[in-house]
Amino acid sequence: MTTGGKTVQWLRQNWRAGLAWITGAIFIYAASTKIADPRDFSTAIENYRLLPLWLVNPAALFLPWAELAAGAALIFSGWRRAGALLVSGFSCLFLLAVLSAILRGLDIRCGCFGPGGHQAGLLTLALDAALLAAGWLLAEMPLPRIRKSGQNQATRLNSDPYPGPHL
């Protein structure tokens, strides 16, 4: 077998672990920048105007550590699914926050990777969507099924709420 063939085979066998490591590393990096400077992260959260003021600082203190825990859990196989569930939850939360900022026309920084970060926009949405997809795959959650039209009809006939004679 060629080296390329071996790499493809290795990737097929270990893609889940690779995805978990990459996603985990992103979460750990993002968390460490925010843990280092909670004030900046507090400002970033406040700028979204989604939380009441009294919740801003507790969120700025807690979220980075929760992200770090989720990222670290992804790296250890025994904790991977729990980490993936957290990653999915956080990514979904961040995605909704960024989406709401875009819809409200807020010109703010996303706060994803600590001080400096880029504007909350389509790039941030794409990153959050990718992380959500990774978390969903790693958590081994069922993917939405697309039904064929024939199947749909059969389901509809079987689930007739009035099984008696139709008038």
Binding site: R39, A44, N47, N57, L61, F62, A66, L85, L86, D107
Partner: protein
Amino acid sequence: MRAEMTKVFFLLAGAGALALGTNILRPDPLPWLHTSEVRLLAQAGELAQLRTEPTAWVDARTWEAFVAGHVAGAVNLPAGQKFQQLARLFEMLAPQGPVVIYGKDALDADGREIAEFMVQNGYAPEQIYLFTPGWDGLEKIASVATAQGEQP
């Protein structure tokens, strides 16, 4: 699934404990409760609404950044020199009417620091506004006149 949810609970509980512990040990801990009374402006539209009244501007960036470009008529009050320049600020800005403060960008904490400092030093919270996108955001608004060089 139940076992996974237990692990999730442990991860979140651990994160909470670490957040609590590290903030207590930090040399400058983040206050648990945010008590700012400063009003936030995050859009050009909100700024335009405010500017129907005469508005004063405070630039919280460094002197060098101010000289390179600022809102016309703004007073420069770098966060690092706020105590030395408080008297000058009172001379230049009347304690009535809206005052809009801006820093470098949306993650720059200097603007907020100055806004809170002004409230603590006698300006009414209702008149202090923080333009959160900062100078980076102001530069994009065509209706805001800008200038370069030192302040008069």
